[in-house]
């Protein structure tokens, strides 16, 4: 081994097709895109109304997706936030019980930030698994929402402002959709371009490495949970304004739907892998599916079965897993065709 100037360890140059394949392989959103494409095609064929009434479809996507966007920030760090739905409910009630609208909105959003901080405190400072800590928070906040609302829906003092809020701003774009888009852009830029957000991937992918590299892991966890809490509260505010009342048991379908959106979008629950774009795609797929089913008037139990099957399909078709399953089926099949030749072949040289 004489003196070398360089050492080549990786693969060589790639063809164009190789580069394309490489780029695709590096992305995490594949399944979400495929699912969305199928759903869009089916919707286009069976219920074109999904597209003509696109503001409704967008509204549904925003309803499902907003919370999922915040949640993704937490998931990227390998954490979970089960308290999002309760945060949504509690902040909505906070908004409604405060007579002054502006003050109410501020208080509601602060509630979200506070919840996020408490979640992060439990996870980062006390050092508790986020699944458990936020499960506690789920119950606690639901209780808080019930207690401060006196266990009944609270009407907004200024209901007209709420109704005005629900009206389209530009074309069919309602504030909800606009806020959703803005939040998407903000978080997307944050985790892909901003140093702090980019480091979420490091915290999720290898916390020890992140710590060793001088990344303030705890502070990142605080940021992530506060994003999640804030976005959930924002969703609570939007819902309350649009409906002109706050429901203390709101969001019963939000938690699971937002998890489903994040996971269909290719976010890895153990952290470090995934993207905000993926979550958007996941929310899109779910939202279009729901609207299609509602529009075509399918009976609710059948809808449920449908959504369940789609979810099951989405989650069992991770390309890597599928490949592994297929090849083990193949080798299991070949194992049955046993070669029964006795050990009589000559001792041929083991290598040539």
């Amino acid at each position: 081994m004489t003196q070398q100037d360089t050492i080549q360890l990786g693969g060589g140059e790639l063809s164009l097709w190789g580069k394309i394949k490489l780029t695709i392989a590096r992305r995490t959103e594949g399944r979400g895109v495929a699912l969305l494409a199928i759903i869009l095609t089916v919707a286009l064929l069976t219920e074109p109304l999904v597209f003509t009434a696109y503001q409704v479809t967008l509204g549904r996507i925003a309803l499902i997706g907003l919370v999922a966007l915040g949640l993704t920030a937490v998931i990227l760090m390998g954490q979970l936030d089960l308290s999002v739905a309760s945060t949504l409910a509690a902040s909505g009630v906070v908004l409604a019980i405060i007579p002054d609208l502006t003050l109410g909105i501020i208080a509601a959003l602060l509630t979200g930030l506070l919840v996020g901080a408490i979640n992060a405190f439990g996870v980062a400072i006390i050092g508790i698994n986020s699944f458990i800590w936020t499960l506690g928070m789920l119950f606690f906040l639901r209780g808080v929402a019930l207690v401060i609302s006196n266990e009944a829906p609270v009407k907004l003092t200024n209901a007209d402002a709420g109704i005005a809020f629900g009206q389209p701003l530009i074309g069919p774009i309602t504030p909800r959709i606009l806020i959703f888009i803005l939040v998407f852009i903000a978080i997307q830029v944050f985790v892909s371009r901003v140093k702090m957000g980019r480091e979420f991937y490091a915290v999720g992918g290898n916390p020890q490495a992140a710590k060793d590299a001088g990344i303030p892991v705890k502070r990142r966890i605080f940021t992530g949970f506060m994003i999640s809490g804030f976005v959930s509260a924002l969703a609570g505010v939007i819902n309350t304004l649009e409906r002109t009342a706050a429901d203390p048991i709101a969001g019963s379908t939000v938690l699971l739907a937002s998890f489903a959106a994040a996971i269909i979008g290719g976010n890895y629950l153990k952290g470090g892998r995934g993207s905000i774009v993926g979550t958007l795609i996941g929310a899109g797929a779910l939202g279009v599916l729901q609207v299609t089913l509602t529009l075509s008037g399918v009976q609710v139990p059948v809808q449920q079965i449908f959504i369940g099957l789609v979810l099951l399909l989405a989650v069992t078709t991770d390309p890597n897993n599928l490949r592994a399953v297929l090849s083990s089926i193949r080798s299991a099949r070949s194992s049955r065709v046993k070669v029964q030749k006795p050990a009589s072949e000559p001792n041929k040289s083991t290598a040539s």
């Binding site: 990786g10 371009r193 490495a209 590299a213 001088g214 290598a351």
Partner: protein
């Protein structure tokens, strides 16, 4: 010349055990300083303290005479850069991002990606490593990851570079390259602390050596003034009669394993035979596909083509899956023991019980007394220290963990044992013991297949050596006569000179 970095009277205990006990080390600019010691001697802990990751119970770290605060960031800023023993990269981030982890160049909080990539490329060019900087770490080989980790350390423009067993997963060629690189860097005035279990490396590269034993500093010397024998003696605390080089007399019997036409990702049509009582070694560079080959043979990963048969007591069985391999007496000591080999938070007993449970409890109901008895016997047989079978596997040092992995398989009297890098990151004492165990197995008539990147080990153990390159066997050597040059020649793609 003044010391660039100085660790003064460092002490650190983990729950009563002193991992580092009043150790003082200092390194000057341009000096390469070796720190050696057995597994668990406290080397890594000391380095983690130096680089601000671990808090010492007492003592201080000085850089250029100034005491530095104990935080990862401060240490990095002060110019201490650590290449971790356990790889410390983020799998889903790109090479460039990993190189700048924690220190992305930014403007107003936004990462400057172009700049980052440019710097990363420059750093890689500087150390002469070619790799796509946009590739994700998870898709790189272990060796490449190691070099990325080194690139990261260097990108921080350190005054002191600490490398904790950087060559453990490198082939000789890569090691060679790394060592010359380090020499070059030292000449440019960098202070280097170098940790390795490979004594020859230390003697080739380093100027001074510090030896730790049980957390205490026991020996400091200029390399020129000591000998490998002396260093090893100091490490183990007494004189070691070197019989690492000893070979056994092989008496191969019938063919036990025969693999024909094996193809799998990274494996390209390989035929292989191993006989009873024979140790077959697989040599080659990292990334040659040896791990893939053996995993395909025993069914741990799926193969795309080929047949594998195992003959035990005259009965010839086809191996189609890992399960069928196990049923036919295959034992597998995997490359990555933390991930594949052990359940770290389970006790030694439980780890030993895992592959033997059908044997020890045919009815499916566990008999704890019997399990403990077997575990105890096996722990004694492999020389586990301390032999506390209720202890969690993760509480043992690397070498002892490896002994547990081997012990798991001994109860069943395997007919065919496969060991992948059995002594990677293992200290000399434990290494010798593992070698003894492997030879003992072969002497008892077991067929053994060993993958090793450690050439002396390969030459010492193997009766036959196959050298693998690009997923193919490039040549076969007689273990008794082969030398390092021949193996390396084949591995690197040179023609086999008839021995």
């Amino acid at each position: 010349m003044a010391a660039v970095v100085e660790a003064k009277n460092i002490t650190k205990a983990f729950g009563g055990v002193k991992a580092v006990d009043d150790v003082t080390v200092s390194v000057e600019a341009g000096e390469i300083h070796a720190v050696v010691g057995e597994n668990g001697a406290g080397k890594s802990t000391l380095m983690r303290i130096l680089s601000g990751i671990e808090f010492p119970d007492s003592g201080q770290v000085m850089v250029e005479g100034k005491e530095i605060e104990n935080s990862a960031k401060d240490s990095i800023d002060a110019g201490i850069s650590l290449v971790h023993q356990e790889l410390s990269l983020v799998p889903e981030m790109t090479v460039a991002e990993n190189i700048y982890l924690g220190g992305f160049p930014t403007s107003a909080g936004f990462t400057k990606r172009k700049e980052m990539k440019k710097f990363a490329q420059e750093t890689l060019d500087e150390i002469g490593v070619q790799v796509d900087i946009d590739e994700r770490i998870s898709r790189l080989s272990v060796a490449l990851r190691q070099f990325v980790e080194i690139a990261r350390a260097i990108a921080r423009k350190p005054k002191v570079l600490i490398l904790d067993e950087p060559t453990a997963s490198l082939t000789p060629a890569e090691t060679d390259y790394l060592l010359s690189m380090l020499e070059r860097l030292a000449k440019q005035g960098l202070a280097i602390i170098y940790i390795s279990h490979r004594i020859p490396e230390v003697f080739r590269l380093c100027h001074n050596v510090t030896i730790l034993r049980d957390g205490k500093l026991v020996y400091v010397s200029e390399i020129k003034k000591t000998t490998p024998q002396e260093v090893i003696n100091q490490m183990v605390g007494r004189e070691l009669k070197l019989d690492l080089e000893s070979r056994r007399d092989a008496k191969p019997g019938d063919v036990v394993l025969s693999a024909v036409g094996i193809k799998a990702p990274g494996v390209n049509d390989v035929d292989l035979e191993v006989r009873a009582g024979e140790i077959v070694g697989l040599g080659g560079l990292v990334g040659a596909g040896r791990t893939e080959l053996i995993r395909a043979i025993i069914g741990a990963d799926n193969k795309t083509a080929g047949n594998v048969h195992i003959t035990v007591d005259g009965k010839r069985q086809q191996i189609t899956s890992y399960m069928s391999a196990m049923r036919n007496g295959v034992a597998y000591v995997p490359e990555e023991r933390r991930v594949d080999g052990l359940a770290m938070t389970m006790s030694v007993t439980d780890n030993v019980y895992l592959p033997n449970r059908k044997d020890l409890a045919a009815s499916g109901v566990i008999n704890p007394a019997k399990a403990a008895k077997v575990a105890k016997e096996l722990a004694d047989r492999v020389g586990l220290r301390p032999p506390e079978i209720k202890r969690e596997a993760g509480q043992y040092s690397g070498g002892n963990q490896q002994k547990i992995v081997i012990a798991k398989w001994l109860h069943k009297r395997p007919s065919f044992v496969v060991l992948d890098e059995p002594t990677r990151g293992v200290d000399v004492g434990a290494k010798a013991e593992i070698h003894r165990l492997v030879k003992e197995l072969a002497d008892q008539g077991t067929a053994v297949l060993v993958v090793s990147s450690d050439l002396p080990e390969l030459l010492e153990l193997s009766d036959v050596i196959h050298v693998v390159r690009d997923g193919k066997i490039m040549g076969t050597l007689d273990g008794a006569k082969a030398d390092e040059k021949q193996v390396m020649g084949l591995a690197a793609g040179e023609k086999l000179v008839e021995a």
